[in-house]
Symmetry: C2
Subunit: 327 residues, 2 copies
């Protein structure tokens, strides 16, 4: 069995980020059309490390992408100077079951997560959106910013984090990387009304901003809450939003952004417009005015991983990238 | 992340087969002591290929072995000249969740399956057993024979297969490889009474021999039946056997060798002695006479895969084998 191994650099060289956006656009449509098979993820617990290893298999029929992402959440890793969430992605040949490729799962997750919000922002934000507020500057922040910068001509970006020095460092680094005005802010209330696009990517368990301060026409991406216990988004946003899209229907079950207000009776399922892929396929409504507030919630899904991995693999093969190993 | 890739040759050089036997002895004890965490395997179906991909994670606490075997069953592969059941094994570091190694899952499965029956034969067969009958000469047959040849001084081996030419070719090859008298036979009834050890490793859905013809003192390994629909072992053997051991308790649920007679009421759960590891740990009875017939049923388990992979990995590291890749 020949297996192509692709590290982060190979993956970067294989495809510009625009390619990841195109890949996720395709995967979102595939999800909305019900062409994905994504079994419930499987968990192995490692109690003495407070660790867990998650197996996330997926099969995208239309993209002919089959694979499994293996993600280990080991909270003591950072103390050891190791990544907290090491991950690999195995791509399989859907005609033979053979392993085609082994990819860096951490980079893959970062990119596909950023790209999902990028596609959502492209579909939902006003065309003339020029300003963005990013709340949370952890490992997922860079690709969130990069993806939005590819779909809108950003002029100003503000970033906020509970740790102001971390926000400052991120702002400096991103100003250079993206050649954009990126500024760290310590007071959200002054900024919220100025942001055309707001993205939250934190691990918070309570809302991280005041929805009353958002301007009409704003688009919000909720990216950080992927368990029922986590929530970043104030229920007032859900109540104000004219459109509420999710990456897949699983997000409704998985995210505390929905589950907490649903449990409290302050929000109803019917207020969710649907899966973003339906809008991308022109089968669901998009923004109807410059005043509407729109919201996109993403919890991610193995379907996005397998489609992204397949597209990266094919691009890498064409360019002769990566290291081939014989097993 | 540094990942050591071990192909079949690396694995072979890392450890003599005796090492695999020792590894499985340890894993069987660990299983009987309840120190393994093996979640139900996860399946992804690929309907247009009649294919399925199975994810088999396991965590052996005492052996500190964590990993997942990925096995794809694609029945159309042989027509394409490809292995029907391609497989890889990912070994993870149980302290950090990082991937330590990628191994050939097909070789691993073959070896650990053979070794399990070897350990069982060592524990249950008479010390003076000198003859063996192997029923079924598919992909698992060679390691079955090799493992038994390491625990008993075999003088004569007979092999039988529905396809006599295949049996003949296997017998010739094995005679040379093991430097043993291995003969293909077409009539089982003449041989059954002469065999001290009988191993069945077929995909049959009905019993493959007549238990009445077995001699007193015979030991039988049932290896092929790993689904409820499959069965190789006649219920009369279960009724005659003084000891019935399983590799793990899951074998009772998984194998048609038990499930069919249980459903028909011709066999009772209480007749199963227990997990082989309990006998290895001297906590359960072994053979008490030269006349007792003993039986071992194995359906395999991810626990055996992870322990075997960990031991192979450590041996390979010590000898500097394999190819290190940086992801």
């Amino acid at each position: 069995m020949k297996i192509l191994t692709l590290n982060e650099r190979d993956m970067q060289e294989a495809m510009p980020f625009e390619g990841i956006l195109a890949s996720m656009r395709k995967a979102l449509i595939e999800s909305a059309e019900g062409k994905g098979e994504v079994p419930q993820r499987l968990r192995v617990n490692i109690p003495q490390e407070d660790g867990q290893t998650l197996l996330m298999p997926g099969y995208a029929k239309a993209s002919r992408a089959l694979g499994v992402k293996i993600v280990s959440v080991f909270p003591k890793n950072p103390e050891k100077g190791l990544p907290g969430v090491p991950s690999v992605m195995l791509l399989l040949n859907e005609e033979t079951g053979e392993v085609l490729a082994l990819l860096d799962g951490t980079a893959l997750t970062r990119w596909r997560t950023g790209a999902l919000a990028g596609v959502a922002t492209d579909a939902l934000a006003r065309k003339e959106a020029r300003t963005m507020l990013l709340i949370g500057v952890g490992g997922q922040a860079e690709s969130q910013l990069l993806a939005v910068s590819l779909v809108r001509s950003l002029e100003k970006v503000w970033v906020y984090d509970l740790d102001p020095r971390r926000a400052e460092a991120f702002a400096q680094a991103m100003s250079e990387t993206l050649n954009l005005s990126v500024r760290a802010v310590e007071d959200l209330s002054a900024i919220l009304s100025k942001a055309d696009i707001v993205t939250t990517v934190t691990t918070s368990r309570q809302p991280v901003f005041d929805a009353a301060l958002l301007s009409p026409g704003c688009h919000v991406n909720g990216i950080g809450s992927y368990t029922k216990e986590m929530s970043e988004i104030p229920v007032e946003l859900l109540q104000r939003a004219a459109l509420i899209y999710v990456d897949t229907k699983d997000a409704i079950e998985e995210s505390g952004d929905f589950q907490k207000p649903l449990a409290q009776g302050t929000f109803a399922l019917e207020q969710i417009t649907g899966e973003l892929g339906a809008l991308l396929a022109h089968k669901a409504p998009g923004r109807r005015s410059k005043e509407e507030i729109t919201f996109f919630e993403s919890t991610g899904n193995a379907l996005f991983d397998v489609v992204c991995a397949k597209d990266l693999y094919e691009a890498a093969r064409e360019k002769g990238l990566g290291q081939m190993l014989e097993l």
